[in-house]
């Protein structure tokens, strides 16, 4: 299965520098937010810096690490928000 990854803020910068934080990720089913995140950290070691302090959203809604992922899902990964 393939999911779409979106990285934002300091997570995007750590993995992609000044580039866009969008990429495809191939996963074997069954997949969860946690398994995708683990794979992504292996591909982009600087992301390990955020291991304990990161938020997830699946298809534009906040998600937990145990939530399942389906083919075609969009998983967004980002640090605590700091807008306003």
């Amino acid at each position: 299965m393939t999911i779409r990854i979106l990285l934002f803020g300091a997570c995007r910068e750590a993995a992609c520098g000044t580039g866009e934080g969008e990429m495809r990720l191939e996963l074997s089913a069954p997949a969860t937010v946690e398994s995708a995140w683990r794979l992504l950290r292996a591909q982009f070691p600087p992301l390990n810096h955020f291991a304990g302090n990161v938020l997830f959203a699946v298809n534009e809604s906040y998600a937990r690490r145990v939530d399942p992922l389906a083919d075609g899902d969009t998983l967004a990964i980002f640090p605590p928000v700091s807008g306003g």
């Binding site: 979106l6 934002f8 809604s61 906040y62 967004a76 980002f78 605590p80 928000v81 807008g83």
Partner: protein, 151 residues
């Protein structure tokens, strides 16, 4: 600009353009409104005494708009008397003294308008996926966000 058409005339938007505060107020004020409370967040020229040159905001626009709508729903549940809600967040590069966020709440009476406006900005800073980086003369620093909301 990312926005979703609201049936009740409420406004939830993220945009790269400067925020037109007066236009937002005009869109949100209804005939019955007696109290309009507006929060305007402005880029400060310093943080903890260190001069800031500018700010860079990054957003996840479609989710940001959804989370704003959710805050709007929470407001209408807690303060059913509220007339109108407008929230516009800007992203991209912002100069000192530009507005990053404007929130407008209109209500027949002032108490609910003040409370809901305060609630809206407090919640926005917890849940709406937007991040800011402060640009200094000698470097850049991502602002550390508030702890994740309890889920």
């Amino acid at each position: 600009m990312e926005a979703v058409e609201q049936k009740n005339g409420d406004v939830f938007e993220v945009t790269r353009q400067p925020i037109d505060k007066l236009a937002l107020e005009t869109r949100v004020i209804r005939g019955a409104a007696g109290a309009v409370v507006t929060f305007d967040g402005i880029v400060r020229n310093q943080t903890h005494g260190r001069p800031v040159l500018s700010l860079q905001y990054e957003a996840y626009p479609p989710m940001a708009v959804k989370e704003m709508q959710r805050i709007g729903d929470e407001i209408r549940e807690q303060w059913p008397q509220i007339d109108g809600i407008g929230m516009v967040h800007r992203f991209g590069p912002l100069a000192i003294s530009e507005s990053s966020i404007v929130i407008v709440i209109t209500s027949p009476h002032r108490k609910a308008a003040f409370e809901a406006c305060r609630y809206a900005i407090d919640r926005l800073k917890q849940t709406v996926p937007i991040w800011k980086k402060e640009i200094f003369a000698d470097g850049e620093v991502w602002v550390v966000g508030e702890p994740p909301p309890a889920s």
